[in-house]
Symmetry: C2
Subunit: 509 residues, 2 copies
Amino acid sequence: MTDAPSRRRERTRGARSTGPSLAPLPRLANPWAPLEVLSAEQVERILNAAFQILEEAGLEIRSPAARAIYAAAGALVDEESQLVRLGRELVEAQLAFTPERFVLHARNPERHLHVGDNVVNFGPVTGAPNIRDQEGGRRYGDLEAFRNILKLTHRLGVLHWQGGIVVEPVDVPVAVRHLATYQAHIECSDIVWAARGIGGIQAEDAIALSAIEHGCTVEALASRPTLMTVTNVNSPRRVDEEILDNILVMARHGQCVVITPFTLMGAMAPVTLAGALVQQTAEALAVVTLCQLARPGTPCVMGGFTSNVDMRTGSPAFGTPEYVHAVIAGAQIGRRLKIPVRTSAVNASPMVDAQSTYETAFSLQAAILSNSHLINHAAGWLEGGLSASLEKIIVDAELLRNWAEILKRVEFTDDDLAVEAIKGTAAGGHFFGASHTLARYESAFYRPLLSDWSNFENWRDAGSRNATERATTIWKKMLTDYVPPPLDPAVRDAVADYVARRSAELSAA
Amino acid sequence: MTDAPSRRRERTRGARSTGPSLAPLPRLANPWAPLEVLSAEQVERILNAAFQILEEAGLEIRSPAARAIYAAAGALVDEESQLVRLGRELVEAQLAFTPERFVLHARNPERHLHVGDNVVNFGPVTGAPNIRDQEGGRRYGDLEAFRNILKLTHRLGVLHWQGGIVVEPVDVPVAVRHLATYQAHIECSDIVWAARGIGGIQAEDAIALSAIEHGCTVEALASRPTLMTVTNVNSPRRVDEEILDNILVMARHGQCVVITPFTLMGAMAPVTLAGALVQQTAEALAVVTLCQLARPGTPCVMGGFTSNVDMRTGSPAFGTPEYVHAVIAGAQIGRRLKIPVRTSAVNASPMVDAQSTYETAFSLQAAILSNSHLINHAAGWLEGGLSASLEKIIVDAELLRNWAEILKRVEFTDDDLAVEAIKGTAAGGHFFGASHTLARYESAFYRPLLSDWSNFENWRDAGSRNATERATTIWKKMLTDYVPPPLDPAVRDAVADYVARRSAELSAA
């Protein structure tokens, strides 16, 4: 399987264009010390309270298999209430097995996902029931929309993994839906993708298909993980059986488990930031402990999704000041525990406008500056996650591409200091024609994907289109220009055969 | 002159409302270490090159009076070319007089402007020739628009000074225009305002009127400064006579001079970030030196406005990655020199949409995280400064108010850790009715000015209005509800008399 020629073409095309280069961006790293909002003492107070919750209240673990694993390790398990209480020593002993950093392997060897340290990774919107765009309006997701989002995120080059259920393809029967999405992931892109986060069968099929994609056995995947599952605690303090089944299959196969409590302050968690963080930490630690008990060394990521609600309506809010503090604090807690952290770039806006942009900008900024490792929902999320928007994908990609430039270290040579160029330019003159300028201007500046810097008259005469309207033109052209990544025909066929066989089995069941 | 009752009313009204509180926000401080993009060694390389420019190339100083001051201090002055070259020792000796921190005094004693340390100050758009709003479209500014912007920025409570020429009132004759704007500043708000940044007469009238506003002599203002002038170098390396006249009047009266080179990379400055920073630093230092020579101890602020241009069209761009690096680097250079720093929150978008929002968000974030002290254009700037937009004022105010919350230190009590509330809430339950929630929910979260967190159906049924359209409703209501701040009638009359007398004199001249 060789895909080098195709990628060379992509790079050349990007470099020649006068527009933005869409060649895949190199691995991103945060060059700065992480931004912190808690003192070390505050982190310990939250941790102590979280351990107190695990010991004294515990979690409702709605899977007999998972309860048996906890019980065998010495947890206090009440089979009637299904409550599992965990001592601090038990949890800390398992945390010692949790890797501080790990790699998820992509089919494209240049796009492996490094999780940990100061590496920044972006993933697209996931979990949206609706698809939205300016032309088609708001409607239930389908497989075409699902594949279109994958094509865009592949083409944009700035997403580091493909997400999982980027939009719910409701035209595919539930029993076999996961198979269609996995096939789409393998066909539409060549970077890391995620299993559906609910159900054991769904995890098993993801692992089987990933082994086919990577040309190896399921057993071999365990030492060279490729997959993640991104799933939730049913906060407060409950984990459903289908989620536990999913987690246990992934963990037993050495694949990455991203566990995110859903702790909306004042609704599913205490109204205080500190209280919500206590609950978030306790819930995540319970699941990380289970993963390590199932298979020591399972790559785990602690998710944070703490935000506030509008206390008048109960509606969730995102990108708020409380959200920003929760993201940064959550990353601090993860660093203290030496577990990688997942956050999100999210908003609660009903449309792609100024609000959706500032809410996403605030949450994205917090996610990046906090040094979190997986930034989910970073392109296309709208309406608190109820819609995936094609225009929002383009707006967000512009934000992400700007950030990728901002995170580059500032370097300069003595020539870049331009002393001779400044001395050689007359007072009141300009540098347009200076040799110092001409030698550098083609690659001097970031070239935007979406931004329009025309003057008012030119912009008006071109139709007075706002950024959202321009984004429609961009995603449509990207879908037209889309070229699938290289895929060995034998692998493609084997994937199709597997999906056909399993679809028949699951439809008959 | 007592305005306490009015401010008490304002606070009470804010606290009772279910909407956002618009009471003036307390002084903002950045609780974090400043974000830095340059190493200490890189800062020194830039400084050394800047001093080399000052020594070997110098600045064209188009005022005989200013050249005489430089010459008397030992600078090399060429009267024919008007070039003034400054040795490093001369400049550094004057920098020693420049205050690292200072206070500009407002009529409202609760709204003094603290410049320096980690205090963050926001000012509105200034210098725009056009006014724009959704209803009136784009048109030349006038005095009504000027006063409306002042009323909004006063009412919003999140701006720390009133700006100067927030929009150009072209309906007032140029000769007397500054007088009308100063009168508006004094009548419409009670916080610090800025003199027009061009012309000696304009500075003298500002000082005379500020003395009337503050009930003191012009001489007394020098030891208790009230005013700033925000003005530019005509980069590269030229300062016009009218600007120098303005600066010298302000400096001699001990008022604050904010000097900002206009260093667009590739146009009025080298195409490289390092080169543009060298030029920006050299130009600003030349003017700071002049201010100290005119009056040692003059409060000065080093401005940075380095950004890139679209190299295909020459159009300026703002809020770009290059802009972000320039802002942060400029603040580092100011810290190294112990001079407060002015930056901006700006964009190049042709309308109030997603682009204007992310460009402003990027530049604002850089300005705040860099620990710069005066953040100009932070509400209402559009189209690279060619328009002041009333809707953009509202969108930006939401950004600023969010930042004011984000910058608050995270504090919590043991009760806030909510251990008992978590233990007392059933697994899978909710916290809506918990006593821990009920005791706190009213003041738990930031209340937005503009954000709409309705679900899709409610938002659609209410008219599907985007944030820009909602902003129109908000600014119109704010203008309707506007109440001017307290102003002693004797002061009001004295201001009107001065403006009438000087207008007659200047019209006759």
